[in-house]
Symmetry: C2
Subunit: 335 residues, 2 copies
DNA sequence: TTGTATGCGTTATCAA
DNA sequence: TTGATAACGCATACAA
């Protein structure tokens, strides 16, 4: 095995306790002794064993972060930012990916609990229906937890979410204000909270203008199905503006429209949601809803740390705002 | 604190040793006793403390995975796939992100070593020049390591890499065979191994056809700078085919060309590299080099496990192949 | 088949 | 200012 404080103690003819104290910079140890201990530790290649330390201190210094998946920029950013910020606060972060499966998520949570993480930040899979046994387990689990990005309404725990309802509402309002009257919202599937909230914001915005749009469900939130759906839609069903529940589907809509020989925004407008990397690579700059991820990650970690300090963490919702760009630039109505 | 085997032992009037053995399914314990112990453990909410276990067993069951960043699909996939596969083999994976900084990478490596991971899979940042002290440290570090995806040639360790040189060579050959003669390769910066290999493959492929193309360095591998570079290039410098060191830059080139009123592939061809998500969202289907990520992740973990078993792991290179799609479809030369 | 004793590497409590 | 000793929770060699 590796070098331990005992080895250093023997080498220097002092006691292990002295070495431990010196290494931790205790003021009870003489300067000269401290210097000698540190020098020997360096020379002998000593690295502290955090497992032994955790055992006696009763805390691990590890936080858990569970995300639904990792391949979309949203989650990648979440993981990267939270890890870094947590490290600056002296915590390690153990990441677990749920592969969009509720069962895997539960398994991940169990694993983290077993590994004695001090707190868990959960960005839930969020599909319906949910396993009631899991919801109960979550509620009764005694590791401090905060929801990150979205949440299970069944479980009473602090949460930091993005105001996606408000973002979609804002966007819809801005677009109706431009005089558009015929809308289609391209969504994935029903029964996912975060999707349903977008739909709700969409409907609310239209209702304010005395309108009622359509929602097309493509089955998933990917590119392919959105592309096909728009490509195959009868000409007369096409709206003035396609709104989409993420930028990726917006890209699909734009490309499908181009394939049909329709111009964006002159013939049909397109709007996305996220303002992430896909908005950046859009052929014409994309109207979308900006999500403030850095505010989100900051608030998540803050809530987690508050809970760890035994303070109360209040639910927070990060506002989201529509950003109008060229893909919906006003033009004479045609449809 | 939480429930320990001592608590269970006291509850049942047996010794802690018995409980430990029963919980680990030892055949030396009577069936009835085992049953009672397991029942009590369940009832009392016992969870084993992996820190204590690691301390006595001398192994942690944790592997480290260090990646340069996390926001590109390549790394996200790497992390997700390797974590899952490793878990199936009974290992935890501790992920660290280097933020594209050599110094952060070193810090990450130190942290993992300190945390007593049993092995480290390193997907290096790979910029030039490199800190020689770091290279030496890597070489002398005594935790088993394998390079994942790319490597430092200065360090002698097993590696599993993608044959990006060969992929680029293959692609270039196929495109010259189509009769194209004027090429530009859009790259990021010089001095990054993985970039330089692409350039080398490009040049080698052209040389075989008696050609010599140009390389345009945009400074980084992002969308914006590639877009601007193509947009602002004098008309007469435009090639028959833009090759790009990743799909993202290819997308940028396509959009910039469209902005200039040029059609792809009729006026100018465009090819990417990766065959990842950005190839999928391309307005016209993108010629690119396919990287076999699942073969890669499988081989990485296998190499890691071999090293952990004390076996020798041989360097492996996963072949990459060009895929011709519409964005370079042969057309009468014009330039 | 079960219990006792010991040690893993560290920190904490007391004495010296 | 330092040293001896006892924990932390678990696994195991050995004794019963």
């Amino acid at each position: 095995m590796s070098v331990t404080i005992k080895d250093i103690a023997r080498e220097l003819g002092v006691s292990p306790a002295t070495v431990s104290l010196a290494l931790n910079g205790s003021s009870m140890i003489g300067q000269e002794t401290t210097r000698r201990v540190k020098e020997a530790a360096e020379r002998m290649g000593y690295v502290r064993n955090p497992y032994a330390r955790s055992l006696v201190k009763g805390r691990t210094g590890v936080l858990g972060l569970v995300v639904a998946e990792l391949r979309t920029p949203f989650y990648a950013t979440l993981v990267q930012d939270i890890s870094r910020a947590a490290q600056e606060k002296g915590y390690e972060v153990s990441v677990a990916v749920s592969d969009d499966q509720g069962a895997t998520e539960w398994a991940n949570m169990r694993r983290l609990v077993q590994h004695r993480v001090e707190g868990i930040m959960l960005s839930p899979v969020n599909t319906m229906p949910r396993d009631p046994a899991y919801m109960r387990w979550l509620q009764e689990m005694d590791v401090p937890m905060v929801f990150a990005g979205s949440r299970y309404v069944e479980v009473d725990a602090p949460f930091v979410t993005l105001d996606i309802y408000g973002g979609m509402l804002d966007l819809t309002r801005r677009l109706t204000a431009q005089g558009n009257r015929k809308f289609v919202l391209l969504s994935g599937a029903e029964g996912v909270d975060t999707m349903d909230q977008r739909v709700a914001g969409f409907r609310a915005g239209l209702a304010e203008a005395g309108l009622a749009g359509q929602v097309w469900y493509t089955g998933d939130t990917g590119y392919e199905s959105a592309y096909r759906r728009v490509l195959e839609a009868p000409r007369e069903e096409l709206p003035q503006v396609f709104m989409c529940i993420n930028d990726l589907m917006a890209l699909a809509a734009m490309n499908a429209l181009a394939r049909r020989g329709l111009r964006v925004p002159e013939d049909v407008g397109v709007a996305g949601f996220d303002d992430g990397v896909f908005a950046q690579v859009s052929p014409v700059s994309l109207t979308t809803v900006h999500l403030d991820l850095s505010a989100l990650t900051g608030a998540i970690l803050e809530a987690m740390l508050r809970r760890l300090n035994g303070e109360r963490a209040y639910p927070a919702t990060i506002p989201s705002q529509a950003i109008l760009r060229r893909s919906t630039e006003k033009t004479e109505s045609k449809n």
